[in-house]
């Protein structure tokens, strides 16, 4: 990686971190709705997507709600989504970022279908889907990964194993020693990486993307860490989690870890850190101001996009 790439990766991590931290504040201020926190997941999200080209697709779960930022999607769009405003809808084809998937693992077959569909057309393009450890218990995960494997589709499945599905620990989720082991059942490579090491995640994703492009089919990447924040703003983990362990995790958070690496390599100065953070904070400040200035949505939007060609009685209520 070049110096500028290493710094761009840092910029993306800081942008994601800032988005997340500001969102928790905005939620507490009543400015956005319930919000799924991704604090300390930035290494996975920025690292894995750094291996993609612009014509590759990203399939986020709600944990990756802001992942469009790495493609230049306006933070306003994502904030609108969390404000329950229809301006939070986007065109997946504009960013090659699918809509945020709320029901667990159900977007895994979408990624398989997109990757397979691109391949059938003779077009380039890899699909990268993100999901959590709990998702690997879902049928949709199994069906989607199996289908991608059978079709030799250029897909990369990134499992964010933060070891908690809301309050359910990983040992209550699976008897498998690792989630990466599940890849063997599909006849595809499974890789386990440190989910707080952005360069390790990037390297695993780069190999997987290269293999997919070369016709080698899908890869399952398990990025391991430990959830160091609540599942969402409505969650109180003190009821089920070991808070001492959480404190320990927070002390090793991934943005600071990468920052230390860049400083040691002589690539990052205090001035640069301050400027990257300020850019991200300015972006968020402008974004929240913009979404709050937007007019309330027209109730007509109840109907506008329910169908392309709506049935005549759709408005009977």
């Amino acid at each position: 990686m070049s110096e500028s790439e290493l710094l761009e990766l840092y910029r993306r991590m800081v942008l994601l971190r800032t988005y997340d931290e500001r969102s928790v504040v905005y939620h507490r201020q009543g400015r956005i709705g319930t919000y799924a926190i991704f604090w300390n997941h930035e290494a996975i999200q920025a690292g894995a997507t750094f291996a993609l080209d612009d014509d590759d697709w990203i399939f986020p779960s709600y944990r990756e709600s802001a992942i469009g930022l790495v493609r230049g999607m306006p933070a306003e769009t994502i904030l609108h989504w969390w404000r329950g405003h229809p301006s939070g809808w986007w065109n997946p084809a504009e960013w090659n970022v699918a809509s945020i998937c709320v029901p667990i693992a159900t977007h895994v077959p979408h990624a398989a279908g997109l990757a397979w569909g691109k391949k059938l057309r003779g077009e380039s393009g890899v699909a990268m889907a993100f999901f959590g450890d709990g998702a690997t218990s879902e049928g949709a995960f199994h069906e989607g990964v199996n289908l991608a494997a059978v079709m030799n589709a250029p897909a990369v499945f990134v499992c964010n194993n933060n070891q908690w599905a809301i309050s359910t620990p990983i040992e209550a989720q699976t008897r498998a020693e690792t989630l990466a082991d599940k890849a063997a059942g599909y006849g595809i490579p499974g890789v386990r990486v440190d989910g707080l090491d952005v360069l390790a995640v990037y390297e695993a994703a780069r190999e997987a993307v290269e293999r997919a492009r070369a016709g080698g089919g899908p890869t399952l990447i398990e990025a391991v860490h430990y959830r160091a924040a609540p599942h969402a703003t409505a969650d109180d983990p003190s009821a089920y989690i070991d808070l001492a362990r959480v404190d320990e995790e927070r002390a090793h958070e991934c943005v600071g870890r990468y920052e230390s690496f860049l400083r040691d390599a002589g690539l990052l100065t205090d001035e640069l850190v301050a400027s990257v953070r300020k850019d991200a904070e300015d972006l968020m400040r402008a974004a929240i101001a913009a979404v709050e200035a937007e007019a309330p949505p027209d109730p007509e939007l109840l109907f506008t996009h329910a169908y392309v060609d709506p049935p005549p009685n759709m408005r009977n209520g």
Partner: protein, 323 residues
């Protein structure tokens, strides 16, 4: 015109639409090498290749989920569910994604998925090969549903579904797959969604049905000749629903019997009855009656004839209205 069975007409529609539009794909379990368990997809793999008529792993939800991704890649997938009740795992994708994704993109992306499946009983099959699940599908937002009763409509409605910009589910009445024979236009043939068909004109009672219950109503009308003149309305499309044709018939006859195989409670007959009550109550000369399946699991086949609405049950309902 060629005389075809209903399932041959389905096959004809698929051949015609795959030839017309290179973006149309057929996927399902056993649709390729075997040509479908009912032969609905016969010949497609040989003619269009294994990349246009695709044998899928056994996973109904995964298959429908993959169809969402295929749409994102520019395809128009036609997904076969092998049997009615085998489609239930796919309701997850249908409800959470297929019917909502266009909306979720603010109308910027289309998901022109067609799902087709044989449905209904009467074929002496094991459990869960006989269901009439149309209510589940009509109730899902963003979905259209059509059910043909004749070979010509089977071809025309399926072609309309494939060309429709929204997701459409076609239920094919397997009981009459090979017994319904009729003239089918050759080449491209479209029956627009949302237009009911007057299968038979009459003056005294309106029988409203779809799918395999249309011929049952027609036979009941035959049996009642001399007692009552029955009009048979084949609604063909549950959503969009042609309310005007139903209401015009009710205005003419003032008496209504609605017939479907699905269980009674919240069956589609309840919706039709409610629409008639809201919009035509002063046209009625008696209660709106329903002849339906029962609120029980679809039975073992040795007693299925007691479950599926029969000519006798339909005729009895009509006699009650004209007494």
């Amino acid at each position: 015109m060629a005389e075809l069975t209903l399932v041959e007409a389905v096959n004809d529609a698929l051949h015609t639409e795959l030839a017309r539009d290179d973006n149309v794909l057929v996927l399902g379990e056993d649709v390729g090498r075997a040509g479908g368990v009912f032969r609905a997809t016969a010949g497609l793999r040989d003619r269009f290749g294994p990349d246009r008529c695709i044998d899928m792993p056994l996973a109904e939800a995964g298959m429908l989920g993959a169809a969402v991704g295929l749409c994102m890649a520019g395809w128009r997938p036609v997904v076969e569910m092998q049997y009615d009740a085998f489609s239930y795992p796919a309701l997850d994708q249908l409800i959470t994604h297929v019917g909502r994704y266009h909306w979720r993109t603010g109308g910027r992306m289309q998901f022109p998925i067609t799902i087709r499946m044989p449905y209904g009983g009467g074929v002496r099959a094991p459990e869960l090969h006989d269901d009439s699940p149309e209510t589940y599908y009509v109730h899902a937002s963003g979905i259209k549903v059509a059910i043909p009763s004749t070979p010509a409509d089977a071809k025309g409605l399926l072609a309309a579904a494939i060309r429709d910009p929204d997701p459409v589910v076609i239920f094919e009445p397997k009981f009459v797959y090979r017994t319904a024979r009729g003239e089918v236009p050759e080449g491209e043939h479209i029956v627009p969604l949302g237009r009911a068909r007057i299968a038979r004109e009459g003056a005294d009672v309106t029988l409203i049905a779809y799918g395999a219950m249309v011929p049952v109503c027609e036979r009941a009308a035959d049996e009642l000749a001399g007692e009552a003149s029955c009009e048979v309305v084949d609604i063909r499309s549950l959503r969009p629903l042609d309310e005007e044709t139903i209401l015009a018939s009710v205005a003419k006859t003032g008496r209504v019997v609605i017939v479907h195989e699905a269980p009674r409670t919240v069956g589609f007959g309840a919706e039709i009855a409610a629409i008639i009550a809201e919009r035509a109550i002063f046209d009625l000369q008696g209660p709106v009656l329903r002849v339906t399946g029962f609120d029980v699991p679809y039975p073992y086949w040795t007693i299925e004839d007691s479950y599926v609405p029969s000519v006798e049950r339909v005729a009895a309902a009509v006699r009650k209205l004209i007494a």
